[in-house]
Amino acid sequence: MQKMMQDRARELLSSGKVDRVLGWIEGDFVYDVTPHVFRENDIDQLIYHSFASQNLSKYLVGETKKDGVIAVFLRPCDSYSFVQLLKEHRFDREKVYAIAIPCLGKVDAEDLRAMGIRGITGVTDGKERIILHTLYGDVEKEKSEVIAERCRKCRGVHAPYFDERLGEELTKEPLTDRFEMVEKLEKMTAEERFAFWQDELSRCIRCNACRNVCPACTCEKCVFDNAASGIENKAPASSFEEQNFHIIRAFHVAGRCTDCGQCSRVCPQGIPLHLLNRKFIKDINSCYGEYRAGADLEEKAPLNRFDVDDCEPGDVVGKGE
């Protein structure tokens, strides 16, 4: 796949169809992958393997402000963010050449470390299995054992707005029900839930990594950075602030979140932030009908439309207990 992508990128660049290519590049370690804008001279360094986890679509907001056309590789989850951004006019579609690529599920180094797999120097991907080359020898694992939480619920289907497809679309049955954890929390008592979230959110250091990586958080200026909003707040002055921050952030992306799971991936404190977003998605689906952000360019988001006989808050709130 990686070879195919490099070849296609080179072809597009040399033909002049695109001026730049947005993809992934390895850092000092194989699992230390970052998004990178390639040109013809460094296209050989484009990689695509189990550690290429970043959602690239957000970078288009900045990249399309520059001259020329940029090609971008979209995994299924990226493609939903891509459509959502397009729907919100956040980038110039004419300056983007979107290439859909399949994804076998990503692996987080943090998870592997927790499993005792350290010193990773390389990776060989298979469809079902993955071989991790480490300083201490190779480790072979079933893919289903090691892939990241966010990939377990993925169906691997692309949103239908791209220019070309590379490789075949690999649809798969999600490994887990994505609302499992939300439901588990809903079944707890209010005290237990409060304790759970207190434990989680109190670890927040307001590093804003979640905000920076989130493909829905592309505001020119975040309300939390805006003095006029009345809630400007850059550091956790009191414990309320991070709770406030995460609730408002989740609310602002409600109906726009594509459930890509990047927020939890990047959180240095390991807070399961995606649960907040999924709670909203679950409520939206059950109250206003199934909705998938980024699946369609035209459909109005659930918070931007209504039914005259919508449910009242009292019909919904606390019914999960």
Partner: protein, 146 residues
Amino acid sequence: MQVNEEKFEPTIVAFCCNWCSYAGADLSGTNRLQYPANVKIIRVPCSCRVNPMFILRAFQRGADGVILCGCHPGDCHYTTGNYFTRRRMTLLFSMLEFLGIEKERTRLEWVSAAEGAKFAATMNDFVATVTKLGKNRRLEDLRCKK
């Protein structure tokens, strides 16, 4: 532990839309229908003006309950505002409940300009409910408790 003899007096913030609920509140005044002084009303043009940030801010600053009142669905002065309010507040309240905030502390009620009695009854009930729950601590001091 010291027993506090004094009765707990909750702080209640009520957001009322200008056209129906604020007028309903005025009517309950005109009819001298009593409800506790704990309720303080903030006038907004439409219930859909109420940003979740306002509600969180109220809790942050020590409110024990927040109630939002608007025109009945279908009667909005701006035709559709309260429908949006209903969706937003359904999701927000559900989220607060998910975070372990007692669901009784938030409420959305439809009160028309003619429903002075309903306004007073709603406020009486809401104050009683929140008084029973006691002081809101959950949204105030997360880290200090740890």
